[in-house]
């Protein structure tokens, strides 16, 4: 009876040691990644391209509803409109992240105010660590120029994307 108990204890010790060893290795692996340049670079580009895809989606949304957003912000004197792009970008979204699109007024007095402008910002936010992973901003300008494309009856409005800025990026 004693020998049987000893055998079980040995197995238990082996199992516990192996579990601790695996945990230790996993910790070492994660900490070594934090100091590795290539891993950091991969993380940087992952965040950047996710945010970039979100910004492109945001730009399509803004250019299609430019007047609506512009009038809403000007009439009600709102500083910005925030939208959660998470459900739209579900396939590219990383775990524990939120993608927020902010559409705001452009309030710079030194710049030319003749053309209507909107400030578009995309923020990739880590909900677990509560930090901003990537922040991309740009200015969308309605030029007033209409371009007629082939095979289309309606002519399309031309917009300029300017001052593309990469904000804080982890």
């Amino acid at each position: 009876m004693m020998q049987q108990r000893d055998g079980f204890a040995v197995l238990l010790v082996l199992f516990a040691t192996s579990a601790v060893m695996v945990l230790g290795l996993a910790c070492w692996y994660q900490s070594s990644l934090a100091f590795d340049v290539i891993a950091q670079r991969e993380r940087y580009y992952k965040n950047f391209y996710d945010a970039s895809a979100a910004l492109d989606t945001g730009l399509v949304l803004v250019t299609k509803n430019f007047d609506l957003f512009f009038n809403q912000l000007t009439l009600k004197n709102n500083s910005s409109i925030s939208l959660d792009l998470g459900p739209v970008l579900e396939p590219v979204r990383l775990k524990n992240t939120r993608i927020i699109l902010n559409i705001g007024q452009f309030k710079n007095k030194t710049e030319d105010q003749k053309q209507p402008k909107l400030l578009v910002q995309v923020r990739l936010y880590d909900t677990h660590a509560r930090t901003s992973l990537c922040d991309l901003r740009c200015l969308v300008i309605k030029t007033g120029v209409k371009i007629k494309k082939e095979k289309r009856e309606k002519s399309d409005e031309q917009y300029l994307v300017q001052h593309f800025t990469i904000g804080n990026l982890l």
């Binding site: 009876m1 049987q4 192996s18 692996y29 970039s52 901003r137 917009y159 994307v161 300017q162």
Partner: protein, 183 residues
């Protein structure tokens, strides 16, 4: 007979232990295998290649947010305007230039006179890498020639053989500007 049976494992016990050990071994081998793959990937990039890659990352990061107006580019010297905007709608304009110096690259940032083609004010930073030549070729849009669409980075890297710099290889990389025209 009973005493002998008690001393050894029963068939069911043995089966359970074998199954547990197999699952555990699979888990450990899976983890070690994925780690080995990561290490292999890292080894493939030598430190020399890595410094070139990181230097190009820095150049691309500047080019990606460069101004799309052709007038904001000095095609011969490779100087361009980079403008950024903050959350309070403040616009910051700065001129950027990348130059090859001994043992690396120098990034010049400041005010540049595009008519006289000279720097008025600048701050420099150095990045050590084996790039020996760098040049930007600017491509404009098909329909509107006043806007830059694509930038080609042509660069040469010195190769090291038995601790001696021997041949140079030319590479090309392309960057599409994020400041663009949307229709």
């Amino acid at each position: 007979m009973r005493i002998l049976l008690r001393k050894s494992f029963t068939l069911i016990e043995l089966l359970i232990y074998t199954a547990l050990t197999t699952i555990f071994a699979l888990f450990v081998f899976g983890f070690v295998g994925s780690m080995r793959q990561q290490i292999e990937n890292m080894k493939n990039l030598s430190s020399r290649q890595l410094t070139v890659l990181l230097a190009l990352d820095l150049i691309k990061r500047d080019l990606i947010s460069s101004d799309m107006q052709v007038s904001s580019w000095d095609k011969n010297s490779g100087v361009f305007v980079k403008s950024s905007i903050d959350e309070k709608s403040r616009v910051l304009r700065t001129c950027i230039g990348w130059y090859v110096v001994k043992n690396g690259l120098q990034r010049w940032e400041g005010e540049y006179d595009f008519k006289e083609r000279r720097w008025k004010k600048k701050t420099t930073s150095f990045y050590g890498c084996p790039i020996t030549q760098v040049k930007f070729n600017v491509y404009t849009q098909k329909f509107n020639k006043k806007y830059v669409d694509l930038v080609e980075i042509s660069y040469t890297v010195s190769q090291e053989k038995q601790k001696k710099l021997t041949q140079e290889t030319e590479h090309h990389d392309y960057v599409r500007l994020r400041n663009r025209v949307l229709v």
